[in-house]
Symmetry: C2
Subunit: 219 residues, 2 copies
Amino acid sequence: MSKNAISNSVIRRLPRYYRFLGELEENGYVRISSRELSEKMGFTASQIRQDFNCFGEFGQQGYGYNVSELRRQIGLILGLDRKTPIILMGAGNLGKAIATHIDFNNRGFELIGAFDINSDIIGRQIGKIIVMHISELEYFCKKNKPTAAILCIPQEAAEKETDRLISCGIRAFWNFTHYDLRIKYSDVVVENVHLGDSLTTLSYSLNSLEQEEKQNEDS
Amino acid sequence: MSKNAISNSVIRRLPRYYRFLGELEENGYVRISSRELSEKMGFTASQIRQDFNCFGEFGQQGYGYNVSELRRQIGLILGLDRKTPIILMGAGNLGKAIATHIDFNNRGFELIGAFDINSDIIGRQIGKIIVMHISELEYFCKKNKPTAAILCIPQEAAEKETDRLISCGIRAFWNFTHYDLRIKYSDVVVENVHLGDSLTTLSYSLNSLEQEEKQNEDS
DNA sequence: TAGATTGTTAATCGATTAACAATC
DNA sequence: TAGATTGTTAATCGATTAACAATC
């Protein structure tokens, strides 16, 4: 029986654990205690132990955790042992940057295709793949069976094309648009990246910081 | 006395409110109730009223909220009435895509410069700006006084250059690296975008979905 | 065995939701 | 005035932290 309903907060910390454990491994650490890890990562030791225990007992009393074994286990939980075929929808500036910048192979994916409608872009090479016209989508998917897609197309295009993608077998979306896929579709997983919202949040923080300082001056 | 300590959860919802209210405004909505908004956005009406009331009383009993007035107020809270000068550090694939893809002016910023060390990139034009060599940073900042920076450089470069950026007057960072600025610096605001972690989370979700389905088959 | 550190339960804290009096 | 809907307090829910018995 797998422990069900892992909270989103826990899940979002997993990639971070995986990263830190990788660094520790590189630096020759063999074992680490939750306290030591807590100091390095800025979580509490309690939280770290709670988090790991959502998935099993990876440590040993009196000893701590074996760094590379723990990392391996978290990798398995994250599904990084697989290479899910993923396609890029929209090979403009952003899509191209994502395709070249992200290390798909160490994150459980393999980028196998890219699609666009702009004839200036079609035929161009991005890494090892060549940008295809979107009319080739069905044929390509039937042949190569990708199950994930990156949405780097305009919002209107996303709204129009998701039905098509789903009927092509796509069930995981890395979504850079503001189109809210979850409303219309279930049985599909979505990870949203709202870059604009992120920058807007920074504006808020900077604004707050400056107003605080102004208040301190006045008092 | 401003209500202090707005929770992070609330702040992260503000850009979303701002966006939705913009759409409503475009569609001719004059007033909206928290219940109506809750249906459109997928939050509870309670939460929406609580969120707004962190910052003041923007509604009217028996009527609801005036869409454009509410949007304006949230814009002010987010600091979108200003145009904070921001610079891009690292004009490679990702930096260039961010610079061209993001609508800085509607998010409280103005992109005024870009820096890199790669001579192939220096001198190139991105939108209205031209990529400069990083050696020109001090001179440029003295003259143009940016207070925010986008970190699209490698992590090692980020670790090395942040001291320099801070002494140039930068106090807001939109950070695309994994370097944890907050450890070393206070009095600085940071918004982290961990694209790799985001994709890794998608891998987890897809993995979970597939395991669930397998279990359902078996039973 | 003694010391260390986990796994896990209990206590606390914070965020979300429900309820309702105030009021337009 | 009556109906609607806010602003706000109280109740609930969930996540984090603290504590400690189990055990290596």
